[in-house]
Symmetry: C3
């Protein structure tokens, strides 16, 4: 099938329509939170607050910025490992996230942040963090379909996934009253299985024609490490960003730090152990090292204890690496799930593990440990809380599968501008890619060295020479 | 004209003289702000402050670091898009900013931060942020002359531009009492038109001889995206860094976040719509997506409302993209303005728009909205404030043009070590560029693969082969 | 000597054993700090604290994240300048730091952070920062042996160096009661001379066989600039991260900012002055510009005054650049010290200078300047404090040399999987390096341009063609 990949009218229309809709909906619904409104001086008086520092801004802003970096640089660059899809990885991630955060502000606002009259969404720093969280789950799903979908498909997917994410999140956090500060269930499990279902529905029979481009080159692997490291370093902020003030935020950061450190060592161990010459594979270092952060997403703010976090990281790093080696090929050959970035190993399994860890930790919570009223819920025993956590996990999975099927079927429609199987993972389909120039320049200054030839990433001219 | 580009004595002398002057002037004039001085315990007593957190450091430090990243990594890497000017982009930006912040601390200190006796400049975290702001306007101007000037010219330009910037800023903020928290007028408009005037005066007739190097290659575009994303992500910190504590800072971050998100979608829309095959152009994604941040610079801390911010971003992203397509070629061919990075589209027009948005928002401010004494100024009506904002904008433009002409003429002098027209955009002029080695290595370990040939970015040896 | 570089069993075993040991030791010893524990509400009551903001988390978390970025992205990418060792630079730095922080949490915990009963280590945000600091000294030492050691050797070195670092730090800070907030002595001097001693013991006679790979290529120099800039920008956070709350933290950030700015200008000046054509050398820009941060490490929180900081930066930048030009070749040829990254110039000499600056500043401290009880120590005169600072410096040097000899000898054992002299600085030894594909793809869509040839970093296929 040779679809028309010229998006000249479709992409601009989609972007402009969505953006106009955002403007109108924001105009009707969105106002500032009291902490961000010019009337804050009244709020201060009312709450009897003396210091400006009590503004929520100062509690959350540093964490917000770290999460923001994870979504745009972290996920964006992590996906630049493909040799010819760096523009698409960073650029489409940028596009979908910029749209997604706006839509998430609305959806989450309607469900979580309405004012007392129920008419307006009140926008503050916590909304921005939650919108970034929601979009992170779309970035996860993007990893599964990377290189195989058009930007229009991504916008459509974002529209639906954000909607579903918010509904799922609402049921978990507000109805089931489940704990999930770092989003093992709502972000990672949901995002991963949603993306995997979509990519399964969008199965491409002849994708091996693009296989040569579905690999990295030396420098693309280094670009991807920028993404990996910013995700890894800022993950403690991710898991603590919306926790309660004080010890909960503090503890969430510490647990995540510990878990991530452990998953680096086990990823390296298994990567080397399973290569016949003991060599390390960049794919594992780029991805499995992060599994520890996913795995403590739910339990990070709980009294997991530092050694508990290390244990979680230990297993997540190991299992994730094993997944890349054994599960990804199996999923592709048997279940027709073509998972470009291996999100099943980084977000899928560790997400489920994280949900289970959270359930177990909650189930064994006791007044001895917490001492404090509030958690475990007064009206609910620890065991009951553990059960609800498991329901939450199962529900996230169900929502992801169901939503993924529907969205996948929508994305199969032939008019979204998707590329043919043999043109996947190729920036030239949707981007004006710079041609590499071969000819040198003649310097009039004899002190300059002869012209350097530029062949960084593609050179049609002499490809012809060599191929011929 | 073949100028002598060997800077062996001139550049070291310039750097050392400037740095010695800084040491002497700092020695005579600069002391610590009470919040940074060992006597702070007395200050705490005097102000009756009980918590160390009330130290200004804790209000501003996270924002400061974000702004710092924008100046050095953001602007530095944004300009690495040129295939053979990455060292110059990052390195000269580093040099001029490192000098500029010192000179800005002095200039701004003399005008804004003298102690009560008027003898000493008091240095605190807010000075550091303002110095970074001032230098940001030099980085903007650098974008216009990128690849065409020597590092000595950049130091001279920085010396003058920082001086003028500070005077302009003083007139606007202290005499006209204009609001400009994110610097749409003082930083972006001033910086852009200053730089454009300088590049116009430095017009290079035969620049097309360097045209082949005035383009990107695949990996240089990815490096530039690092700059773009760090600018984009941290822009909320930029626009809120020096706002009043509390709601103003909070609101400025939210407005900027919204505006930037909108400009991504409209940039993508217009980039695709105006390409005959609907393909996206990296230049637009790298630059026009940021126009929303420039456009809310003045109004960010005002009660612009989230939808107002979206509208600003909507138009800034669109106009900026249109500018790259239609205005930059026009400026170059008709007005002899050779604008390497297209700063007119990213900082010039959006800066003016931002000034106008600020004036309109201020003019329609009412006690209903703000409620609070202080803004709009007690003694001035909203309408009057709006007019002053417009005066401020016009004054910034006038100062930029006037200053740009003078500085441009100074930089035309023949002894600054500038490169010939045909050697522009080439790192080899001022940098020791690594030669690429072709020969492989012979491994004694037979398990190692045959030597990998290294041809990442330039290969004189086989350029000779191919060119011949 | 052709050692066996297949690490298939050795590396996994080392990683897993160390990680299991960490889990067990954490289980036995590590608990949460009261500020991170669920019982914090009791602590709040006890300390009569009303605001959650008084939790140590809010004082230190932004600085912690900046330091974290310096360790992983800063040091990691700074070392990617080698053309074929980017994976090793970033990846091994990642591995050793992830292990090192865990071990440092334990070691520093036992010596500094035991609870009142002496049974448990209490883990809070300050421990995380100190662990990162400790690992920074390992990253420094890694710079000396970069490209010449196996990951197992690095783990062994980390194990021993962290242990020694902690003991040295304990003697300096707790017994000698020396001031060293930014670690000029404990981190930089110790790390550098430890690493230099190790590399001296590991002297490789035939290293010139790998010389061609011990250079940069164009893009690897740009990757290294990412490391440089993140180190440079966040160094104010590094030097202020564990200072006392309030003015000390504030002042440390300001002094570091000033010192770093000055060292940029003098690095540029000397780099140009000492090149026969006045060209700048990326090595100096990547490294010597940072010397100012090292040089104010000890004195940053003292009343050094801004001009004092500029003077320190002035000399550190100069001396560091001179070191790269004259000292590094001398050390290699005469003292058989093969210092891959030139850490002697960036951390060694500036570290010693920093220790001396700290001693002098402390010696001239007076109640006029500080006013405040506490520093200079009540019981100790300023002069005595100055002397103790010097003792601290000398002790750090002695510990580094002694420790370096022992660890060097351990690392000379033949079974650690080190590479042969002619295979140093080559990622293929320990990494699965992507092969570059030459063949183009045939597009069925005639609107696509002919296939781009991919030759970013290595191309065995046509290396054969050209070499033959």
């Amino acid at each position: 099938m040779a679809w028309n990949t010229n998006l000249r009218w479709r992409l601009p229309l989609a972007c402009l329509l969505l953006q106009v809709a955002m403007v109108v909906l924001f105009g009707v619904f969105v106002r500032y939170d009291p902490d961000a409104d010019a009337s804050w001086w009244e709020e201060k008086k009312r709450r009897n607050v003396s210091s400006d520092l009590e503004n929520e801004f100062y509690y959350r802003y540093p964490s917000f910025q770290d999460v923001h970096v994870m979504v745009f640089v972290g996920f964006g660059f992590l996906m630049t490992f493909l040799q010819r899809y760096g523009f698409g990885a960073v650029g489409f991630n940028f596009l979908l996230a910029a749209f997604g955060i706006q839509w998430a502000l609305l959806m989450q606002g309607w469900l979580h942040h309405l004012d007392s009259e129920g008419r307006h969404i009140l926008l503050g720093i916590e909304n921005l963090i939650n919108a970034d969280f929601c979009v992170a789950s779309v970035c996860v799903a993007f990893g599964a379909v990377l290189g195989k979908v058009s930007p229009i498909q991504l916008l459509v997917m974002t529209l639906f996934q954000v909607t579903l994410f918010t509904v799922n999140e609402y049921i978990l956090l507000n109805i089931l009253e489940v704990k999930d500060a770092g989003g093992s269930m709502t972000i990672h499990t949901f995002g991963a299985y949603f993306g995997l279902t979509v990519t399964c529905i969008l199965y491409r029979r002849n994708l091996e024609q693009s296989k040569q481009r579905q690999r990295s080159v030396y420098h693309s692997d280094l670009f991807a490490m920028i993404g990996t490291l910013f995700l890894w370093m800022y993950w403690p902020s991710f898991n603590s960003a919306v926790s309660f003030h004080g010890d909960a935020q503090h503890r969430a950061a510490i647990n995540t730090y510990c878990s991530l450190a452990a998953s680096v060592l086990t990823s390296v161990a298994l990567s080397s152990a399973l290569h016949k010459k003991g060599k390390l594979d960049m794919v594992h270092i780029q991805n499995a090292t992060l599994a520890g952060g996913v795995g403590v997403g739910t339990a990070a703010e709980m009294m997991l204890m530092p050694y508990g976090a290390l244990i979680v990281g230990f297993f997540c790093g190991s299992i994730s690496t094993l997944g890349f080696l054994f599960l990804t090929p199996f999923l592709e050959s048997r279940l027709r799930i073509q998972d470009t970035c291996g999100i099943h190993n980084l977000h899928g399994i560790p997400g489920i593990l994280g949900g289970i860890v959270g359930a177990v930790t909650a189930a064994f919570a006791s007044p001895d440990i917490y001492g404090q009223p509030g958690f475990p819920k007064d009206v609910r025993t620890s065991r009951a809380q553990g059960k609800f956590q498991v329901f939450g996990l199962l529900l996230s999975l169900a929502m992801a599968l169901m939503g993924g099927i529907i969205v996948g079927l929508i994305l199969r429609l032939p008019f979204w501008g998707q590329a043919a199987d043999e043109n996947c993972f190729e920036d030239e389909v949707y981007w004006e890619v710079p041609e590499e120039n071969i000819a040198g320049h003649v310097s009039e200054d004899p002190t300059l060295k002869p012209p350097a030839l530029l062949v960084p990433s593609g050179a049609p001219a002499f490809s012809a020479v060599l191929v011929s």
